[in-house]
Symmetry: C2
């Protein structure tokens, strides 16, 4: 079951050029910057009342974010829903006709399992499911975003 929106991924050209907007213009706090090598991105995290905003800067020309920037420019890249049953969520989506990018969840950052649905079958919204690997951990709601 979907518990809530976990985070929004936003594609940007340079973190350092964008962080001041979120901090100074919106008044949100940056909780950290992290490189995710497998995805070829650097990310900066903000918290907006329990939903994270994740800025994504490409670290290579063949990063998915580099391709997105090339065709669409800066903007919202994906929406991630937190679930307590990622396998069941993928099965439900697949059985209702949604095309999955990942049939099997893989490990994202911060010990989360993640999988994406294809925007061609989600009315243009690149959609991620994510689940904490350790359900019994205290403070699950505080886990960092993918």
């Amino acid at each position: 079951m979907i518990q809530q929106i976990d985070h929004l991924g936003i594609a940007v050209r340079k973190l350092e050029d964008t962080i001041p907007y979120y901090e100074k213009s919106l008044g949100l706090k940056c909780h950290g910057v992290e490189e995710v090598e497998s995805q070829k991105v650097r990310t900066a995290f903000f918290d907006a009342g329990g939903v994270h905003i994740e800025l994504l800067e490409p670290t290579a020309d063949d990063s998915p974010i580099a391709k997105f920037l090339e065709t669409r420019g800066e903007g919202i890249h994906h929406i991630a829903f937190r679930t307590d049953d990622i396998e069941g969520q993928l099965k439900q989506a697949s059985e209702s006709g949604v095309r999955l990018i990942h049939e099997v969840p893989f490990e994202g950052a911060a010990e989360k399992l993640v999988a994406f649905l294809h925007p061609k079958s989600t009315h243009g919204v690149l959609t991620e499911f994510c689940m904490a690997k350790h359900h019994d951990a205290a403070g699950e709601g505080d886990s960092m975003v993918e």
Copy 2:
């Protein structure tokens, strides 16, 4: 101060073609469909753990959503932050160099005051501030989205 992400606006061609994806594939519940004449849209609302998803279908060729669909296709249209001080939030954004689409908040649906920042100065993300008109009302968190 920004309290939380209030809702995400998602541009779609037809509500009736899109609602089944959110209901059947994601398992979210549609809380209602409403026409907002001033914005020339029909909207359908979903709740995802306290953040609303607002599908937006244009009702006229000159609707802002019709223009968005023409140039970008279906997808995430805007992000709305809930604040308890919309005037202060606009002032903070403006003073830090952000271009405002609305210098003065106007009344959106569901008795909310709303105003937008221009995506050219927010790194590509059309950004809305919204505030309940009646702060003292009980159950403010349950108020419907713009």
